[in-house]
Amino acid sequence: MSGNGNGHAYKVVLGYGTCGIAAGATAVKEALEQEVESGGYDVDLDIAGCMGLCFKEPVVEIFDRDGCSVVYGDITAKKVPQLLEEHVGKGQVIEDWVVKKSEDPNACDGDFLANQLRVVLRNCGKINPESIEEYIEIGGYEAARKALTSMTPEEVIDEVSTSGIRGRGGAGFPTGTKWGFARKSPGDEKYLICNADEGDPGAFMDRSVLEGDPHTVLEGMILAGFAIGARQGYIYCRAEYPLALKRLDIAIEECHQKGFLGENIFGSDWSFDVKVKKGAGAFVCGEETAMMASIEGQRGMPKPRPPFPANSGLWGKPTNINNVETFAAIPWIIAEGGEKYADIGTEKSKGTKVFCLAGKVRRTGLAEVPMGYTLRQVIFDVGGGIAGGREFKAVQMGGPSGGCLPAEKLDTQVDYDQITAAGAIIGSGGMIVADNRTCMVDLARYFLSFTQDESCGKCTPCRIGTKRMLEILERICEGKGEPEDIEKLQILAGDIKDASLCALGGTAPNPVLTTLRYFKDEYEDHILNHKCAAGSCPALITLYIDAETCTGCAACVKVCPTDAITGEKKEPHVIDAEACIRCKMCLSRCPSESIIAE
């Protein structure tokens, strides 16, 4: 939040989301508390959700009285005394640790944020997610109050339709239209569900929003509930997100106390409440009908549509489902107006989209950009290019339902239709960047093994079809592929896409289809030449030690399970190719990166 109105000289805010905690933020928090106490600093200590600067976690932002701030990254408990002493005590910025300065947004790694446009993430990292007061202070719940006291449900839906926002869960269905269906569906009892079962590996924006700004999501749900006529909302959240669940519980409790949830909210005659349902570990429950089955206490197996949830959903009643990111954008749309949102983005894809940058990119984290940015802008301008100076090979978008786009597609605009035309999908917004050490066949195999693992087993094409595809890919990775395997993959992929019951099966072949489209040569290399150019597939590589750089530290010798590495101390070692099982354990042990896989 801007400034620090409560009279302290400085406000110190610690990024305290799952990423930060995983990177050691708890120790930093304790150190901060201890130092502030013992050093007698005039400091207001606070926490915030994830700012999205995952690559620099733990992150500390220090505000002065004027609201100017400096963001420090890679803070450890050991660095805390120095940080407080220099910045708070002496008023001197420690330049080496700076990620971003408010007065010079592009300095250091600041362009990571400077190149973004934050609507959904507008409060993430700025406010304390465990305090409704901070959310209200920056205008939170005003949109809901306005809608419930001065708008009709139809007006709310119109505003959302005007914004042009499309469902951020992956399918990209226009949200206003979807709400319209649910509104028009007959019946007094309707349900609203927030899909927070963020299952796509590589996507974590929903977690970040729930951890960093849970009230935005609740406000979006209140608006949606009012719009469609639902009095009960559910948030179906993964159990793997304990912090998000905890903060949601706190936020809901705060809302009850404020009268924002429950009977006659905001003094209106509208009643709406929200319950959290914890997922139990099934990717397929991200599918609407499976999610509803799971909320009903059944195995999460999808049902054929029609009937669509808008007509017959939870307990057979009209039900509307949107994901976290969609709900998080709604309060902004109602507050700022749908047209303002529609001004952002491309003709058919409005607004902003949050991407999770991960993989071999230099700056990993959350990137919210206007629709219409090119992939190059996202990966290179925001993400800072490829880590370790390697070469960009592909970006995987949309998780197991998506595809891999090669370098020649880097200038594709990020927009539902263009990405789909290129062979991937926007999906939930995961972007995993691959460099030349990533094997595309192996990546396809990885995704297939994921969908196969997560298939519910109900329909034939998904249950057996993806299994057979996976088996073919495994054979290829093991060097046992046959030339006709590519055709078999193509037949299966096509039929599985057409015949599967739900989107999990229907999109499962996508990673294979796009890699076949752009990286067919890698498949052929594996099948015909028994080679994995990326040096990834164990059966197709040989490991050897570069005698010039090897220091003879013998770290590799200790980990080799087959004693295939020999050599005198301090002398270059060698790997016995016969004995080597290519487990690559040695590869990550080598301090001098002398072990080469080819």
Binding site: R299, S455, K458, T460, R463, I464, K467, A499, S500, L501
Partner: protein, 377 residues
Amino acid sequence: MEQIKVEIDGLACEAPKGSTILDIARANGIDIPTLCYDPRLSPYGACRLCLVEVEGARALLPACCAKADDGMVIQTTNEKLERIRKTLVELLVSDHPMECQGCSKSGRCELQRLADKYGITESSFTGEVHEYDLHRENPFVMRDYNKCIMCGRCIRICREVQGVGVYDFVNRGFKAVPGTPYDRPMQETPCEFCGQCISTCPTGAIKARPYEDFGRVAALDMLRNACAYFKMPEEDMMKALGLESWVTRTTCAYCGCGCQLDIHVIDNKIVEITSPVMVGSGQGNLCVKGRFGYDFVSSSERLTRPLIKKKGKFEEAEWDEALSLVAKKLGDTKKKSGPDSIGVLSSARATNEDNYLIQKFARAVIGTNNVDHCARL
């Protein structure tokens, strides 16, 4: 009821509103293949064989689930649909032991029929196959999940029709299989051994065990092997052999619900009891007695000759001797003590015709109204 008009494969059809595409197609003689469909159950949409193309629809629709809308134009077959169906059957076959000869479902196995239709003897998509143990721990229901195609019909019929819930799917994905919790024998579940799961299983995964085990199978095996060999449905094979009457439709002799039975007889032995689906009061469902309780018909303890008690012991007699004796004794009693000194008990298990004759016998022949049956007991 409101009627809708649709076009299926160029044929104009009319049906009540709310009908599924499959309902309408079948009512009009258009065959859409299915595996997970049973008219007794709510539609499920898992096997995907009944996918059809509907003009203007974003995706292919499962005919078993999709309700037809007025004016729909539907294609149930074309190159794409048939290719998908062939792939689906090949996928199922790739995890199914195609040892039809020797499987007692041969000739009426729904998967076998489809494999024949698409000319599949082995799958081009080979890979891991399941190896489950054979379950034969109870006298009635035999389960061989290696033949299971995961249509879920057993689970659904047990829940939706029988209201019991012996099975559910266990695990998920490729590892999923219908089963009892912890693979417990069915006696340790609430199972009522109605055999509804047997009646709905489209393959040889769930079978009636009495008809597998008890030495009745030789002839049946030959028949079914012949069916498998000639790829002929059982009924056709029986017809070809001139044995039309081997299945007899009759009414169950147990409780009075009036279930229709198909008694399968070979060599004057009952080899299986089934019930025609969607026919009669049971709609194809039976109870343990109706499905498995007919051993008594061929019991070795059946009476085969008249018996006359002589000096406190029964001796076999000729019909003529026995009936003459009865006629004489009844006639003598009537003469001596009057017709009302004779009582006749008829049977609530005998047919209407027999009961009629028996009361007629009492009234017209003996001359007494002392005739009753165990209605009260």
